[in-house]
Amino acid sequence: MDISRRTALKLKPIALSGIALSTLFFSAYSFAGEWRGFSQAQARSFFNDPMQTTPNNTPTDNQYISLMLQPEYYTDWDEGSQSFTFVGMIRVDEHDEERSHNDIREFSYLKADVDWELKAGVSRVFWGVTESRHLVDIINQTDFVENPTGDDKLGQPMAQLTLLRDYGNIGLFVLPYFRERTFRGPLGRLGPNVDTENPIYEAKNEEEHGDWAVRWSNSLGPVDIGVSHFDGTNRQPILTFEPVLREIPTIRPRYDLIEQNSIDAQATLGSWIVKTEMLHQSRDREGNGFGFVGGTEYTFVGVLNSKYDITLFNEYLFDDREQQTFQNDLFMGMRFVFNDASSTELRAGTINDMDGEGAIASMELSTRFANFWKVSLLGRMFDDTRLEIPPIDVTVPASISGTTDLLVTTDGETVLATDQDDYVQLTIEHHF
């Protein structure tokens, strides 16, 4: 039983009772609710065979077709002060059974008053200002199998109280249930083959360990700043070989308890935007760590007397916490907007490791046609990218290194490599 079904089953009673309750509650009102959303066909083609061998030694054809549907429903009443939002998603992949997954991204009720708001249910919250990496965005778990950039997030059950005050906004978050990160299956690509059936939790009550967070944000002149504190289970797992009661060790995700303090700030200074995110994380188990992303954004509006805008991004990434991809990296990105009423846009970016250990480059062109259709073409390349697995006592058998894209380096470290995963992706969406 794959992880998505396991999590979905646990959410089912909550969702069902929520639906029942809301139907009773809402039937008393007549409201103009709205359905919206999109369906998607996505084709991925990988240039190379995977480093791994698949079970039964049958290689896939390096092409993956998947279909996705994201329905959304929204309604409000009481002059907009009360509202309900639903966002769901389901994806079906032709080869990867873990990529075939579904999620309730949002299922929440919102009550808004003049100086406070209360949100309850499953929802998504975004914290952050940087482009290359959303370092401090911790509330929601990353749906990694959906998108390897980490831009897509799983829904998080929560109760959120926001107080709007003169000295800023205070957000209080109670996060009663933990969502595990999604990873590809044995037949999938991009990222390691993680044994999501056997996670390791530092918290005794595992996913039912309640987490909480608090955030203050305000605008002071040209500076927007947010300061946050999070206490609970780390959304980012440490990948480790701790064996289960089986003969073959697998890569298991370990979710440690952490306390994290972070600052995110942006200064709008004339044509320049300067931004930063930084965090300090402390763990009972492994000690402290510090992460930082900082950079600039500059937009050339109407270049060469045209309608085109070009925005240039530069960011530096640092992270000394355990098992991080971006320990000392430089990001350079560009966004080219055609302003042509079809929302045609070209995005390109590279992240280069300053220690000479790897690079990722992406380019994406997207546009709309016939009002309801969006098409995008994406290319992504990996060069020598690595991720360390904590060293283990047991020798990694060839059958494991085959299925998990592992490398054992000359100094005995076990390292993940994704060099074989360069790909091209075509996405066609129908919006309604």
């Binding site: 975004f126 320049w272 009423a341 309801f372 259709w373 091209v424 969406e429 309604f432």
Partner: protein, 321 residues
């Protein structure tokens, strides 16, 4: 008169003449016509607290087909400053994308954009005022254009008076022709010339000149109607962009004044929630002319994308050889 009094009177004559000349040079600050226009507009500005409207843009690029974009606009006034939210509603992939602007004394508006895909509210640089809005010929700063109350953001100069009126009608109204120069250095324009009628202070036309003082755009206001017994608003704005060769027709409907908007609704932290609100009014039904022009079956979509990818892969591989 004796010699002394001749000198005195000559001197006083010269002084009067000189001060007259000085008055001419300062008329930008003390021109009674500009003062009258400004005080009239200021009186009008304070008389409504908020307004909302639906806008349908019909964009036509040079030699291209027409494209429709629909948005809702909400404006709230506090004295002479205004806050405005625009929420896109059509095409459906633009739904909920919203822009928030806070007007400021200096004429440099603060801008935020809400990206529904990842629930992110982004604070933009003031440079973005000169960006074209959703691909139309209107830039973000052109949004102010139909609010004559925002004239404090410009330096004004009276040019002339002439007959004017709506297009296709007899030009029987008396218009002031006023030059206005944006005070903000982030404006995309060096100057603008506006035609505003002297009686009801309705703008009929604005010509725009870019930073190189080249005449680039002209905007016409048509089909003025009276709302709530005193507010005149145009129903059609027609922007012609000589630089790009494109035109945009913006049709404003469903004006509603004094809805009781609260100030917190225009706070950037609430842009997420406010972008969803429909208000109690139903949206205009979607223009379904272009819907379903590509009636591909799902299987066909899969096959098509597979073959596209295959040819792409072949092309890329052959390039590599």
């Amino acid at each position: 008169m004796d010699k002394q009094s001749w000198k005195k009177s000559t001197l006083s004559l010269v002084l009067v003449f000189a001060s007259g000349l000085l008055q001419q040079n300062l008329f930008a600050a003390s021109d009674p016509k500009i003062d009258a226009v400004m005080s009239d507009l200021n009186a009008k500005a304070e008389s409504f607290s908020d307004v909302r409207a639906d806008i349908t843009f019909i964009q036509k690029n040079e030699g291209g087909a027409e494209k429709v974009i629909k948005v809702r606009s909400y404006t709230m006034r506090a004295g002479k400053l205004a806050k405005n939210i625009i929420v896109a509603s059509f095409p459906p992939d633009l739904k909920r994308i919203s822009r928030l602007a806070h007007g400021s004394e200096t004429g440099v508006d603060e801008l935020w954009v809400f990206q529904p895909k990842n629930r992110r509210v982004k604070h933009l640089s003031p440079q973005s005022n000169a960006t074209y809005f959703l691909g139309t010929e209107f830039t973000m700063e052109d949004w102010d254009v139909q609010q004559p109350q925002n004239l404090f953001k410009y330096d004004l100069r009276y040019l002339s008076s002439e007959g004017c009126g709506e297009q296709g009608e007899a030009q029987t109204q008396q218009c002031y022709v006023i030059e206005r120069i944006p005070k903000s250095k982030f404006s995309g324009y060096s100057r603008q010339v506006m035609w505003i009628d002297s009686k009801l202070l309705r703008t009929y036309r604005i010509d725009f000149y870019d930073k190189q003082a080249v005449f680039v755009k002209t905007l016409r206001f048509d089909d003025y109607r009276e709302y709530a017994g005193k507010y005149w608003r145009p129903s059609v704005l027609y922007m012609i962009n000589k630089k790009t060769g494109g035109t945009t027709r913006a049709i404003w409907t469903n004006y509603q004044f004094n809805n009781g908007f609260v100030a917190t609704a225009f706070d950037p932290i609430n842009l997420d929630r406010y972008s969803l609100m429909q208000t109690s009014l139903k949206e205009d039904p979607i223009d379904d002319e272009d819907a379903g022009q590509l009636p591909m079956e799902v299987n066909q979509m899969i096959e098509a994308s597979k073959s596209i990818l295959n040819s792409l892969m072949k092309a890329i591989k052959s390039l590599g050889n």
